[in-house]
Subunit: 355 residues, 4 copies
């Protein structure tokens, strides 16, 4: 281990940007957060209190930040709509990039990031699928690899947000790419991880409803959706995404193999406390995604940093991030059209089931 520290900047200081910035500032010992950018005055105001006193230079303009002297890497944590553009600019400026998921809600735009990265093979470019850094998922993956469940054949996974009656999700749906691209993208990425790159997608189909937010239909979105993915090698993954959980965030995955099953978070819990009262025995659960995966984000920051400093491979491959968007977008399309979408073994769409 060298004492040299990675000089990193953070693009975007919204909800996720603040977290990434603080994680690189405070919880990534081998990195120095040296710069941060946001076009939003309120975000910059926050940064004046929370980042600037610790030596972080603030920029209103992203491209200007890229010129920051000594800057080696960028964490792109801005709005999804500019993820790809900012990532590509950073790559072209010779910076390593950790980009929040998804690269884009468009497959083609996502691919353009991969193409840009391919031209700079010395740069580390990673899409931040946080769940891959969670200790429980890693434990599951390692046990699967060591043969605990035989051959994995079926994967069930859900990403379900707490009900937010404020209307937030309707506004958010305008840019999110839809529930499969925004939420299920995690489950899709997990599937690609657990089933491995040799599993080729064969079909996707989806259904959905608006049980609490009918206005989501304006943006071709739903508040509850079920998607099913077949693979050519005889495996199945099925997903549930929801914006309607009363108790909190419920992200659950089961990997079912020929000799066993690995279940992540089928018994959600905020911490180790149980409360006994006249209503029974109760525990609380995480309220939001970050509550559940806070330490996964910290690990992500640290491992990205180590990969750069130590010239080691990144823990996840960028091309999988495009494949995840491809599947998510196809599920979203199926959700709206009601049609099953088929793929050949080369990943090309073939026929579509017509009504």
């Amino acid at each position: 281990m060298s004492a040299r520290k990675l000089q990193i900047g953070c693009a975007g200081l919204g909800r996720m940007g603040k977290r990434h910035a603080l994680n690189f500032l405070e919880r990534t010992p081998r990195a120095d957060l040296v710069a941060a950018s946001s076009p939003d005055p309120a975000e910059l105001e926050w940064a004046k209190t929370h980042l600037q006193p610790f030596g972080v230079r603030l920029y209103q303009d992203y491209e200007e930040m890229l010129q920051h002297e000594g800057l080696e890497a960028v964490v792109v944590a801005s709005a999804t709509a500019v993820h790809a553009e900012q990532a590509i600019k950073a790559i072209e400026a010779g910076k390593h990039v950790l980009c929040e998921k998804p690269l884009s809600t468009s497959v083609d735009v996502s691919q353009s990031v991969v193409d840009a990265a391919a031209k700079k093979p010395d740069l580390k470019v990673m899409c931040g699928f946080s769940r891959r850094f969670d200790v429980s998922y890693r434990d599951a993956y390692n046990k699967m690899q060591s043969g605990t469940i035989g051959t994995p054949a079926v994967l069930r996974s859900q990403t379900c947000d707490k009900l937010d009656p404020s209307g937030f999700f309707v506004a958010y749906a305008q840019f999110s790419g839809g529930i499969f691209v925004d939420c299920s993208i995690h489950d899709i990425d997990l599937t690609l991880w657990f089933f491995g790159p040799s599993s080729k997608i064969k079909s996707v189909s989806a259904v959905g409803i608006t049980a609490v937010e009918p206005d989501l239909r304006k943006h071709n979105d739903r508040d509850n959706a079920v998607g099913v993915v077949e693979f050519h090698d005889g495996r199945i993954a099925y997903f549930y995404a929801s914006r309607m959980m009363a108790a909190g965030q419920e992200d659950t995955t089961e990997i079912i193999g020929t000799r066993g099953k690995l279940a992540v978070n089928t018994q959600p819990a905020l911490n180790h406390l149980h409360i006994y009262d006249d209503s029974g025995v109760r525990r609380e659960i995480p309220q939001h995604y970050y509550d559940r995966f806070e330490y996964a984000f910290v690990t992500e920051a640290n491992e990205f940093t180590a990969a750069v400093l130590d010239y080691k491979p990144l823990p996840l491959d960028l091309t999988a991030a495009v494949q995840a968007v491809r599947i998510g977008a196809a599920l979203q399309e199926s959700l709206i059209t009601g049609k099953k979408i088929l793929f050949d073994e080369n990943g090309n769409r073939t026929e579509v089931a017509r009504l």
Copy 2:
């Protein structure tokens, strides 16, 4: 409560028949098991030891048993292939009937039982969907009815059998109607119960694989299958059925509403024991369907008996049993063809999604 006891006979003494016979003999205080029939010499041999000494008259011929003096009711627990025929004969002979699920693997044959029962409105004719008598499901249903979860919108349910490497499931598939008719029929029935009769089916689609028993394909069956059902009132149910569970029987249901969720058996357990050893903390789970639902069968026998003796409504409606077969058969068809099947609000099939 009257001291009069229901005089009942049991048709079929195979795996399920033995259980029903003993339940009516020993655990249904208001019923007297007076007769039992089976064409199988081995089954009759068993009955000579276990039933005859307690006053049960044995018959090789089912129709002869129907002539048993004083017989008031029949529990049909024979092979699925003769459920309907035996049920109809009993109805025509003026006997109350408790028929094991499914009425038939055919929708039309199932309907013929309903038609026969309709002609004898004084008779109690019930299809034994055991899970409706389970205390946990009833607790869930009552809490849903009392508003605990708001409006139920999504139902996830699975019926998953323990892996049986003996080849049993291949032989069984020849007559079972397929995994959706045999296993998921329970989940479908639960959906009809929890969503209620006003929920009209809109579409079904399914996928499946043979991860451990490729020979199931000979009988147009699979060992793992996922099915999705849409309803016209904007609800979704999705099912998973499997013959591949390593730990034992895993029958799980979640009913997700606009203000909460009810989860049955997401933490399966054989009993109240946890074992701590150097592999961690462990509990065992039921190995077979009957292990999990033993007392539900006892309750079923007692409630059927009480409905007859006390002239009260049956706890579940016979027409739902036909609807369950209709949905199960459609899912099985979709599983094999890969096509989505659509229904109009009157329950008629409309277009089929073609590849």
Copy 3:
């Protein structure tokens, strides 16, 4: 198995008596409840509706019931104060006896039942420690016997009742023998069972408080108490008894061995339902002792019946029931005096730690 049925009568028709009577009437196939007695007119009134129509002869006088023609056995389920007297009269009348716990709150009186039984070695006389018939405890016992946890060394057990603000427990304390004799007697019996007859008691000590029912002090009782028992072979058991549980009945036992631990009911649950709402994830738990152990009582009735009919050994030994009272009474004494009580290896009290 013979078709002959045990002719049994039930003494006492209070809370427990009603349950035993109905269990022998309805859920013990090899027994016929032929008689029942109670000096209480209200109890007899209940019996006229629930027992008499099914052929049960009712008696106001217990001794008269003992004369009932053909009576072979008696279940003594009356008030604790008359357990021993009624059991002895039944034994002297040549009847098999299943006696509710405890035989008596007095060690000497308890011993007199053993002495009476010893004179009639052909009779089956059993004290009904229901927990020994519970499937979870039996599973634990069998796993311990098969070596799962190595040598058992420490046992923690609690019997904790739901808070009852009605004052019931104060009235009840007058005759219960105290919280260690009434509640912990179960935990003591479990200890004797799991540690086995070679474990000789070395000391007992106890402390207690009245957190919710100060009036219990009038009867030398407490509402929360902790007791510790040492054994001469280097084992420890420690007990907690309470009348103050908000959520319901909490009866928990851990057996800790040199290679593992068996934990019964450390995650109490009424059934398999979990409720998710904005307070978190919740399950209900049994409210009363019988809710938790209902089926253990049924098994107890059936196994007692089988032991009599089949001339087989009883599943538990009567002398252990006296030993349990001895330990319970000593704990209760220590609770009140604050003194530790010592025993030599022959079970005789030696010195008492004085303050």
Copy 4:
């Protein structure tokens, strides 16, 4: 928040010292680890790789480190035997002190640290009872404070280490002060925290065995022990400590109040993964104390730092640390003598129960 960072040194680089040093180096954003000391060449060798490259000055001599220019605070993480001496020296040198528990195995020596601190009221001196910084315990405490369980009356707590057949615990017992001072000190501290300073100790009594390590008796220690503490205000705490857990670290606490119960870690789990295989459903648990409380130590470091930098009260009071040693030592004495020890309301020992 100011950008000024606390200049801290770490005394001792053994098992716990390494962790504290790294926590202050890497996970305490407002502190700079500037110095570390150890008399042990192997520990210094480790520090040359892990601390020195990041600007930490290493010292063989503790007193020399105290002269380190700009040093403001010391974390004392050396052997228990020198905790107090080093803490006092640091106080006298005008340094803030975070001292690992216990201050000493001797009550008097522990008190001498309090006395030294009392002379320097501007210094922050804290004993690191890590469990007070754990999110689950804090959640429990806050819920208790907000009235969730009414008045707390009974506390059960255990600190149980994984079985270590290497003989480590025997060697360790020579200096640990015994199982109640080493392990149960945490449970005692929790009791003082949850019951509050107005709860005055009335009696302690304890029993113990050597189930796996008879050689512990040489050092007046045991491998399994149960202790009971009465308080003058009518509360009870009871503790279990063990060195014999097969599955891993099992630290569990229940606070039972007049209207509810708070249970911390009654369902231990390493992470959110459950493994289903033919042995049932299994989860792993933390293997060692630090696995369970890693983040509590990080919070401890950060809150100590914040208290110093922001001139705020420490989260826990130093005098409680002496009281915890007093109770632990009394329990250990009772464990060995078999005698109950009594205290008056002023905390003075009165009579001792004699055998």
